[in-house]
Amino acid sequence: MPLEFSAQSRARVEKALAQYPNKQAALLPVLHVAQDEFGHLPDEVLELVARTLELAPAHVFGVITFYTMFHREKHGRNELMVCTNVSCMLRGAYDMLHYLEKKLGIKAGETTPDGAFSIVEEECLAACANAPMMICGNQYFLDLTEKKLDTIIDDLRKRWQDRNPAGGAPGGGAATRTLFGIGPLPGAGS
């Protein structure tokens, strides 16, 4: 049986479709919905999206592979996006990246065997005044130090273990995206 969206995702798809004069324009929003539900975008998900929006699978493939946030392969539950661009580089971003790599035993671009973490070397994430920094889901981690990274990783791992008591199989990538709550806002500087 071909893959289908859950009722909840279907509602999000319908809402997206209502925002545009044609179905194709809803492609990015629908891909976000699909990745939230299925974790990544393998062929069967790609075909589901193409079918839903009446698009050629080749077009959907072209779009998925153009954008760095869409994944064809499984990614870790906690995607640590570490900026190493100029502002962060000047304030030690590569030291932070290498510390994380050593701590988690993986290189940038890889996922830990338990599926808990992926490390991504990112381009500028627009928090230059608080360099070095990284994002995980919707959380910004600013003014990083090695000590801060230790705490962050411990917290994220604990949260991940609480959700996966048996060390469960990693599935969706949406886990870190539901932690919304407006915490302290970034420092304005002035």
Partner: protein, 455 residues
């Protein structure tokens, strides 16, 4: 007005630091919403004129006059013909971190700016294209949009002096998915249409054929957030605040080697020296300033002798105190009516680096960025940015070869002017800029690698 006199004026950051500044109730308590009510009592054409008078220039990087851009929307369109306003919130120029904070702190100021702009332009549906990685900001803006719908500001016919006597706007938040090129306005439009973010050939310009082939204005977040104050206090007031043909204030994002990095709303025209030593507390660790990037990583850098130039759009392209960026002799290069390339104010992202910095490695990191973000559509940029990244990286590693400086200049000159969009120039400018202003650093690296090879 001199920049000292305009020191304390805050327009787009006036609600920063106010508790719950992202909520509509707080926004309204602080006077928000009056400008939109006033705008509805005016004719749309009068609003466009006021914005023209204000000398407001695009804050995304190019500094194009906003009122002029608005006036390019064709006149006399049939009433039902769609016109779109698209907000460029795809902030990703390295060194720039203002729009993210503006969206988080004051989303209702953006919505009010959009309401006024849409009324002036005859737009019925506006889109905010927000960078995919900014998930929390997307949630804050989405909440603000929902509040505005609930309050009847959006999605409801409101009595208006112009047009058909009523005005109604819908706003959709559209999340990107990780591609720097979608900050280029036509790449953004393609992305919004569900395609790869490949920039379009211009003409036709978006004002004639933009989103869904309809007339479209694409404006930066900060640009639109200036509109309510222009309506309330007048274009002349705004123009007088600024310097020359640049009205208003300027947000700068200062990062790198300064004691107090941050996002600051400052008077247009404040010199770099005052910014770094007075506002940002100077260079820490007893070090000396080596140079800075004046407006996002696409812009040619300045060296320590060029700090007295005012931070203003036209000054940075023409001030005689800034050295020309050397272009290869014999290769014609035109910018802004035949002017030689100096630099540009760009996005306001100022990256300061001290004398401990490996400038070649810094330049190589910038080249790596452009090679990664080149969309692959045209050959000079797709191939050239990769070549620059690889050659510059080998020079930085101390593995460079004798002719590498000329090679990099040559490649850069082969990209500039030969691509569909400005990402080609954005790669070229810093490359040639670093080679011109910090040539000694590159030569020192090459000398070291020659020595290592001889040993």
């Amino acid at each position: 007005m001199s920049w000292e006199e305009a020191k304390d004026v805050k327009i787009v950051t006036k609600n920063f630091g106010v508790p719950d500044s992202h909520k509509l109730s707080v926004y309204q308590q602080r006077g928000g919403g009056q400008a939109f009510r006033k705008a509805l009592s005016l004719q749309p054409a009068a609003l466009v004129d006021e914005v023209k008078k204000s000398n407001l220039r695009g804050r995304g990087g190019a500094g194009f006059p906003t009122g002029l851009k608005w006036s390019f929307i064709p006149k006399g369109l049939p009433k039902e013909a769609p016109v779109y306003l698209v907000v460029n919130a795809d902030e990703s120029e390295p060194g720039t971190c203002k729009d993210r904070e503006l969206l988080a702190f004051d989303p209702h100021l953006l919505i009010e700016g959009m309401l006024i702009a849409s009324y002036a332009l005859g737009c019925k549906h506006a889109y905010i294209y927000i960078r995919g990685e900014m998930m929390r900001e997307a949630e804050i803006v989405e909440m603000a949009i929902e509040e505005a719908y609930a309050a009847g500001l959006l999605g409801k016919d409101l009595p208006a002096a112009g047009g058909a006597g009523t005005f109604k706007l819908n706003i959709t938040l559209h999340r990107g998915a990780g591609a720097y090129i979608c900050g280029e306005e036509t790449g953004l439009l393609n992305s919004l249409e569900g395609k790869r973010g490949w920039p379009r050939l211009k003409p036709p310009f978006p004002a004639v054929k933009g989103l869904f082939q309809a007339p479209t204005v694409v404006n930066n977040v900060e640009t639109l957030m200036n509109i309510p104050d222009i309506v309330m206090r007048g274009g002349e007031w705004f123009a007088n605040l600024g310097m020359g043909k640049s009205g208003g204030t300027r947000i700068v994002c200062v990062s790198g080697h300064v004691a107090k990095p941050g996002v600051f709303e400052l008077p247009m025209g404040i010199p770099f020296r005052s910014l770094i030593y007075d506002v940002c507390g100077g260079i820490p660790g007893g070090r000396r300033l080596k140079g800075l990037i004046p407006g996002g990583s696409s812009m040619p850098p300045l060296d320590a002798s060029e700090l007295d130039v005012p931070i203003e759009f036209d000054a940075l392209t023409s001030d005689a105190r800034i050295k020309d960026v050397e272009l290869k002799p014999g290769v014609p290069y035109d910018m802004g009516g035949g002017k030689r390339l100096k630099t540009m104010a760009g996005s306001g992202g100022i990256v300061v680096f001290d004398d401990s910095t490996d400038v070649v490695a810094l330049c190589a990191r910038i080249m790596k960025f452009y090679a990664h973000e080149s969309c692959g559509q045209c050959t000079p940029c797709r191939e050239g940015s990769g070549w620059l990244a690889r050659v510059c990286a080998r020079v930085a590693r101390g593995e460079g070869e004798a002719g590498d400086i000329d090679l990099m200049a040559n490649i850069a000159n082969g990209i500039a002017g030969n691509t569909i969009c400005a990402l080609g120039e954005a790669t070229t400018w810093p490359m040639l800029g670093f080679l011109t202003k910090f040539r000694a650093d590159f030569e020192a690296k090459l000398k070291l690698s020659a020595k290592a090879r001889a040993a």
